[in-house]
Symmetry: C2
Subunit: 118 residues, 2 copies
């Protein structure tokens, strides 16, 4: 968290307090666990990474299925899980949907895992 | 990551490069996904949080089953998943096993999710 900019608004449903600060509420744990579960899959982690590293920070299924060696329907399914978890945006242009990281979404998850400096 | 201390050695199997820096290797994605999957569960997130917030940063099953309203065997199962994922240590003293966060393990995962400051 080295940015001096205010944290992007990622919705009031996510509390950014580090996991180690206070015992987490059940409601908050359910919301956060859904996001961690979405990235708890090697293919989805690689897709996030490929999209972030792609030119302009966005990519379509047609850019992604070859690097992960999976069919387009399978890749589309994984991308939908990441969109539903609030980690990717999807925008349709012409024949293809283009996917990009939701600004601040991964940083919010990182903040939850940050432990206080010793 | 505000600590000036060197990052604890969490094993050479985990690469701390942010997910957004380069396309992630398949091997690294498998290792990291296993850790994210372990915390992709509301009960396990709450257990991590309860242990971190507990006196001395450690707790036994007997301290944890009541706050999460689950039986001791169920809590023990979840704790085992977190130990196996390299996120908790277990040390047996007398009748009980005590659990504590592996130093630096959550920070390593946070580092993977950190996106470069804009």
């Amino acid at each position: 968290m080295t940015s001096l900019l205010p944290a992007p608004d990622t919705g009031s449903d996510i509390c950014c307090a580090p996991i180690t600060k206070d015992a987490m509420s059940e409601e908050n744990a359910i919301l956060l666990a859904g996001k961690f579960k979405a990235i708890g899959d090697p293919t989805r982690l690689r897709l996030l990474s490929l999209i972030a590293a792609h030119e302009g920070g966005e990519a379509c299924v047609c850019d992604l299925n070859e690097p992960v060696a999976l069919s387009q329907p399978t890749v589309s399914h994984h991308l939908k899980v990441l969109v539903d978890a609030g980690l990717l945006t999807r925008s349709k242009r012409g024949t293809w949907s283009f996917y990009a990281l939701v600004p601040g979404a991964l940083d919010s998850l990182a903040a939850v895992l940050d432990t206080p400096a010793s």
